[in-house]
Symmetry: C2
Subunit: 253 residues, 2 copies
């Protein structure tokens, strides 16, 4: 299978490496900036291109993995190829690609940063396409990279993406807020490392509803009041503390 | 050193096991309910008691590790022993124990659930007491359990506890909300496992301000609007989504 990869960001880079490891043939890497395309292409023995009209018209699969806000521009300016065109975005419907004959979605459900080493074999890959044949092609491709490949329609994928915003982006933001609080009290963020790991490890085997600890889950009004007093000069932290504490309290049996 | 342990909850149970493993001599375990005291005591070759006036008056160290809201009752009804009396609570000042001659705090900074196996050697232990001699005793005790033992006063410990609420309790709550969202769309929570682990692993080596991903960190208004539309029938999730998204947006450079 001849693959063309469009994009040179975090997702594109990780995906490219995994496809190469799994012995797929990536013929071209496109990026608006040639130097970025070259960075990715050189590791894959692929050709770097920076113009959409230079794209190989005969590839079997085109993976468009650019930032969500650049996606429609790339899609609408690509030549009308016959091969299967997919994007890798969580919150973009499949129909964004409906100008092509064969189209679909190949969504690896993970947070990607360029430097991080990832075990791709555990990353769920969600696929969807406009025909059974194309879906099978994407499932088979997914299985060469991961043990977890699922079909999901655009609506389910959209909801999954929101769940990821809560479980990843908002979680990381909680780490940021904790970091700010510690810094303003001359305490290092490192102190939180074991706690952060343990919190993540616990929910690998149990439902998060059973692993909650802390003052709100104990309905410990005295400690909650004390925390709110200590945060009284920090409006934003105080507002977030109250909203999330109330949200936990509502669910305590 | 003769140690008396008061409490039979998550923190008390973990601490008891670690002290026993480190060859400390725990003579008694107190709990309001004798069967609970016995459950912990039997593993330590200690005596179980359920009345505060049965406490051994000659122990060197009394560790009061009961729920925060039961703490003052236990402290005020204990006999006025001469040994060092400490509590293990993050948000309770050391002076809660000032009726004793020797008092302090021994705070293991981790989230404890009974069943979870923990590597205690990496858990930060924060200590404080009313004299240098007592502080040294607590530091030496801490070092038999953990590689990370620090002095921290009650104010610092209070702030650290709030940071833990953000980095652990609120994080777990984000997992809960994601779980609810997935369940209402017939998707399993398991799909989030790799994402949750990766989010925690990333910040073990990098500052959380550098590891943020997702629509808010990209200022991707289109996706944010789409998510808010999809959450329009869920008031609570929608409010949390907006508040945390705004909080991330404020910090994007």
């Amino acid at each position: 299978m001849k693959i063309v990869l469009l994009g040179s960001g975090n997702v594109a880079t990780h995906l490219a490496k995994e496809l190469f490891k799994a012995k797929h043939c990536i013929v071209q890497v496109y990026s608006r900036r040639l130097d970025n395309a070259e960075l990715v292409a050189k590791e894959l023995e692929a050709k770097a291109v920076c113009q959409l009209d230079e794209l190989d018209a005969d590839a079997d699969l085109y993976i468009v993995s650019v930032k969500d806000d650049a996606l429609s521009e790339v899609i609408n300016n690509m030549p009308l190829v016959n091969g299967l065109v997919v994007h890798t975005a969580g919150s973009v419907g499949m129909n964004a690609l409906s100008r092509f004959t064969n189209f679909g979605v190949f969504y690896p459900f993970q947070t990607f940063t360029k430097e991080a080493q990832l075990d791709f074999s555990n990353i769920p890959v969600l696929v969807e396409s406009n025909s059974d044949a194309n879906t099978n092609l994407l499932i088979n491709l997914g299985r060469t990279l991961s043990k977890v490949v699922l079909k999901a329609d655009s609506e389910q994928r959209g909801k999954l993406h929101i769940a990821a915003v809560f479980a990843c982006n908002f979680v990381n933001h909680m780490y940021c807020l904790a970091d700010e609080l510690l810094k303003s009290n001359q305490l290092p963020f490192d102190l939180l490392h074991p706690l952060i790991m343990e919190t993540a490890i616990k929910v690998q085997k149990a439902s998060p509803t059973t692993t909650q600890t802390g003052p709100a889950s104990r309905k410990d009004k005295k400690i909650i009041d004390k925390h709110q007093q200590l945060l009284h000069d920090k409006d934003e932290l105080s507002e977030i503390y109250s909203l999330l504490t109330d949200s936990i309290l509502k669910r305590v049996k």
